[in-house]
């Protein structure tokens, strides 16, 4: 942040102050909140603000997941902005209730609603009183000038838990706040929990709503997701596991449950590297009282066998990694484990903790790592050229950089809007690392093969 009242940041290469963002490396807060609401069974996401916010976010999510995403909106008009949004909110909620018959409506605000000073909690209190038949209403404040889509996501998870988890009655289940992962990741995590005999409440769980089957007949697409009844019991769970590296547990859902109900809390990075997955499974093993099933020993063993098979292709290669802060930290940890230098680690997130989180995970590599926080793709591109990378790991927005540098881009995270199958990309656990590893090694081999004049068919 600049010293003046104007927010500006220094250019990493020239050091001069920057006021404009060039090709943003983040999305806005309501985006993340909508993802969370879409992952709760019976819940319709609802944006309190202008029509465009809902449409742009839908458009972006549809581009990535290629699934229907309905997000309702209070559709502000000029008088709404002058006189406040209560009337539109009320009409909107009644209409959503009529058309979708949901169990819950998840309301997130926008910069517009927040700035005109709409007191949404009070509005909802009054609206609920007047219309007792409305479904449950849960709201999260997500002005888009505060934070990123990741912050909106985390805030929504916390708000949902705060609103719904009212009981501390003990049970044997486990809460898993896994953060912004892919549907494939969520499926695998649930499989792991089942294999350990743990009843897990994964929040949010959009594995089916963002990666569903073909329908044939119309559906509202709100059937799938975390059951509200399970969220209500979250306070009494045996423990909460939360994947984070840079987010503060003080503001998180797991942190809230620990404080409110004393629910034991395990915070850890998104498990991608062997080291991080070992840590995750040891916690799961401890909570379940079971040793990891043989299946996981097998997955781990085969992964390390693959590491050995491919080690020469990757050793001391240099990677540009960008995306959500927590994902960047976990990817960097994975890369360092296989001998790739995460030479540039960048994120549009501005928690201010990215560098420290990286230093904790990959201390030995830090002298050779450039870290860009609160950055944009223009600066990433400039910094990337300086670190002489061999490959890029991140979302589709790095495609132009890939073209410019002529090196492979391994697509991970969100958004992936230039390929199909974003939902099926597995990042976590031994299996996720296996898939990432194979994709990375093969991309490097292909690059070498294509660049060679010989045309080797055996590598």
């Amino acid at each position: 942040m600049g010293k003046s009242k104007v927010t500006a940041k220094p250019n990493p290469t020239s050091g001069e102050c920057r006021h404009a963002t060039r090709n943003p490396c983040r999305l806005c807060t309501p985006f993340g909140a909508c993802m969370v609401f879409h992952g709760i069974s019976g819940c319709v996401p609802f944006i309190h603000g202008s029509q465009g916010c809902a449409t742009y976010i839908r458009r972006y999510l549809i581009g990535h997941y290629r699934e229907p995403v309905d997000i309702a909106c209070s559709n502000f008009a000029e008088p709404t902005t002058v006189f406040g949004g209560k009337q539109n909110l009320e009409t909107g909620l009644i209409n959503v209730a009529a058309q979708y018959v949901p169990e819950m409506i998840g309301i997130c605000t926008t910069c517009l609603a927040e700035t005109i000073g709409d007191d949404v909690p009070m509005f909802l209190h009054e609206i609920t009183k007047q219309h007792p038949d409305l479904p449950r209403l849960v709201q999260v404040a997500t002005p888009s000038y505060c934070g990123t889509h990741t912050d909106g996501f985390n805030q929504a998870v916390r708000s949902v838990v705060e609103a719904l988890a009212q009981s501390g009655a003990k049970h044997h289940g486990v809460n898993l706040f896994s953060g912004m992962l892919s549907p494939a990741d969520l499926r695998y995590l649930k499989e792991i929990m089942t294999d350990f005999g743990l009843a897990a409440t994964v929040l949010p769980d959009y594995s089916d709503s963002f990666d569903g089957e073909v329908w044939g007949q119309y559906k509202k697409n709100i059937e799938h997701g975390t059951a509200i009844a399970d969220i209500e019991k979250a306070g009494g769970a045996r423990a909460s596991i939360e994947f984070y590296s840079t987010a503060s547990s003080k503001k998180s859902a797991g942190g809230y449950l620990l404080e409110r109900f004393g629910t034991p809390y395990y915070g850890m990075p998104i498990p991608i590297s062997v080291k991080d997955t070992d840590r995750f499974l040891s916690v799961v093993s401890q909570l379940s009282g079971r040793v990891p099933p043989d299946k996981y020993d097998g997955e781990r063993g085969r992964l390390i066998d693959a590491y050995v098979d491919g080690h020469k292709y990757v050793f001391e290669k240099r990677a540009v990694v960008y995306g959500e802060e927590c994902l960047v930290v976990s990817l960097a940890s994975f890369l360092s484990e296989i001998g790739i230098v995460p030479a540039l680690c960048a994120s549009g997130g501005h928690s201010g903790r990215l560098r420290d989180a990286l230093a904790e995970q990959i201390p030995e590599m830090m002298p050779d790592v450039t870290v860009l926080e609160d950055t944009d793709f223009w600066d990433i591109a400039e910094a990337a050229k300086a670190v002489r990378p061999d490959l890029i790991i991140g979302n589709s927005n790095g495609y132009k950089l890939k073209r410019e540098l002529g090196i492979p881009l391994i697509r991970v995270g969100l958004p992936i809007h230039d390929r199909i199958g974003a939902s099926r990309i597995l990042h976590v656990g031994y299996r996720g690392a296996q898939q990432l590893y194979d994709r990375i090694v093969n991309a490097l081999i292909e690059q070498q093969q294509e660049e060679s004049s010989v045309g080797y068919t055996h590598i």
Partner: protein, 471 residues
């Protein structure tokens, strides 16, 4: 009953009409109903889509990063030169800017971007929040314009200030300030401006070539492959040819008023509309040579594409389509184009159609066709199922509705990468429709409602279905 069956919200009943039912009194051009999952975007979106293709201008979005992130390089609008429009610039307002005001940041951002990228002009889009925190965007633009000696144009596109159509108007207002500021030397009497084509996949280039073959000079394109200097001298043209009338009509009217330049409405989609456009333009110039050239052009082009079109027509005959577009003008062309391919339109609607548009659409369509304004996914899904549509034509937001229900889909929006205008575009369109509707994958979609199962209330199709061939 019908309303309940189709899950149509009470507040939207008069925005749906079935041809054959009276009276016809379509409500439209109104703000979207709160809570209805409209497929529309906002005022900002309207301005952004219209100005986006101007390739040598700086487009700076004054607001939080989201509005810029969602519109970064999302369209297929090509440029033959500079690519500045494909970058995304924003003042990226933060909480303290909202508290203390964003003018200073806007000023510094503009200056640093103009210095870095040397654009021919800058457009500054005001987003929702700017309208609320009271930044004097006009004053900042004026100051920078003086300091940097390029036009710096505020675009009043605060998202909540109306509908997407109001955004078109804000864009036209900004462009209107450029028109008339350039030198018109070298512009002859047989000249025109192309308005409302956005050079998606190179369509403006194609249309420009047609006009050049007719012996006409294209002065400026609003805004496909657009250039600031061309826009500034556009008032030297003899005629404005307006496609996508919703987006450009304000500017066309403004230029008529200020410079006496007449305008005509055209569409470049489909053989009928494309040919009519060229003939109408030719007639305007009262020059037999131009008319002769046009006749030859149309004859050559049509005869070239007919064999292939007929092949697709044979495969597609008797299929049913749902068309949902941004502006209604495109819907007219699509209904006609589909008819050329033997496909009947059973549901048709638009985000921003006017009363006249819907009146014309109703005349164009068969009995029983559902007309809909500013629909939402729940309605649209019900309508296509009821009517047994085989195909949905729309944009990316409509695509998953089609695919989930087992319908073919054709992207006719600005994000497509395929030329669909002109004669070669008609062949591409036919191929797009064919390759989706006739794919074997639909046979595997369980529970998909086929046309024979659709309710019988639709009138007999205009074109009798022929035996389906196994595709």
């Amino acid at each position: 009953m019908e309303t309940a069956r189709h899950n149509i919200l009470e507040g939207r009943k008069d925005q749906v009409h079935r041809k054959g039912q009276e009276p016809f009194n379509m409500a439209c051009e109104k703000h979207s109903l709160a809570g209805s999952v409209s497929q529309r975007a906002c005022v900002f979106c309207g301005s952004r889509v219209v100005l986006y293709p101007i390739a040598d201008a700086l487009h700076l979005i004054h607001g939080p990063a989201g509005c810029a992130a969602y519109t970064w390089d999302i369209r297929g609008a090509l440029s033959s030169g500079p690519q500045l429009h494909r970058l995304s610039f924003t003042t990226d307002l933060r909480e303290r800017d909202v508290i203390f005001g964003g003018e200073k940041k806007l000023y510094h951002a503009l200056v640093e971007l103009i210095d870095q990228f040397q654009p021919k002009a800058a457009f500054v889009y005001a987003t929702c929040i700017v309208g609320v925190i009271g930044d004097d965007v006009d004053a900042v633009c004026k100051r920078v314009q003086e300091e940097k000696s390029i036009p710096v144009l505020p675009v009043h596109s605060e998202g909540f200030k109306g509908t997407k159509k109001d955004g078109y108007k804000a864009a036209c207002d900004a462009m209107g300030r450029l028109v008339g500021t350039g030198d018109t030397a070298g512009i002859g009497p047989r000249s025109l401006n192309i308005m409302g084509d956005f050079n998606i996949a190179g369509e403006t280039w194609l249309i420009k070539r047609y006009y050049e073959r007719m012996g006409l000079q294209v002065v400026a394109s609003f805004t496909g492959d657009g250039r600031i200097d061309d826009l500034r001298r556009a008032h030297g043209a003899a005629l404005n040819v307006v496609q996508c009338s919703g987006s450009m009509i304000h500017l066309a009217k403004d230029m008529k008023e200020r410079y006496g330049i007449p305008f005509i409405h055209v569409s470049y989609f489909g053989i009928e509309d494309m040919s009519r456009a060229l003939y109408e333009v030719a007639e305007f110039f009262h020059d037999q040579d131009i008319v002769d050239r046009t006749q030859k052009l149309v004859r050559d082009e049509v005869s070239q594409i007919m064999p292939e079109l007929n092949r697709y027509r044979e495969k597609l005959m008797g299929k049913r389509a749902c068309v949902y577009t941004g502006g209604a003008f495109k819907a007219f062309s699509l209904v006609r184009s589909l008819r050329t391919l033997g496909v009947q339109t059973v549901v048709v609607g638009s985000q921003t159609g006017s009363k006249d548009d819907y009146d014309l659409l109703r005349k164009l369509c068969d009995e029983g066709t559902i007309l809909v304004d500013d629909t939402n996914p729940v309605e649209l899904s019900r309508f296509v199922q009821e009517k047994g549509a085989d195909l949905l034509i729309g944009g990316v937001k409509e695509r998953p509705i089609a695919y989930k229900l087992g319908l073919g889909f054709c992207d006719h929006n600005h994000e497509r990468k395929q030329v669909l205008a002109g004669y070669e575009g008609m062949v591409n369109f036919a191929r797009e429709v064919y390759s989706s509707v006739c794919s074997p994958v639909w046979k595997l979609v369980p529970g998909r409602r086929t046309e024979s199962e659709a309710s019988g209330e639709a009138a007999a199709p205009t074109l009798l279905p022929v035996a389906r061939k196994v595709s």
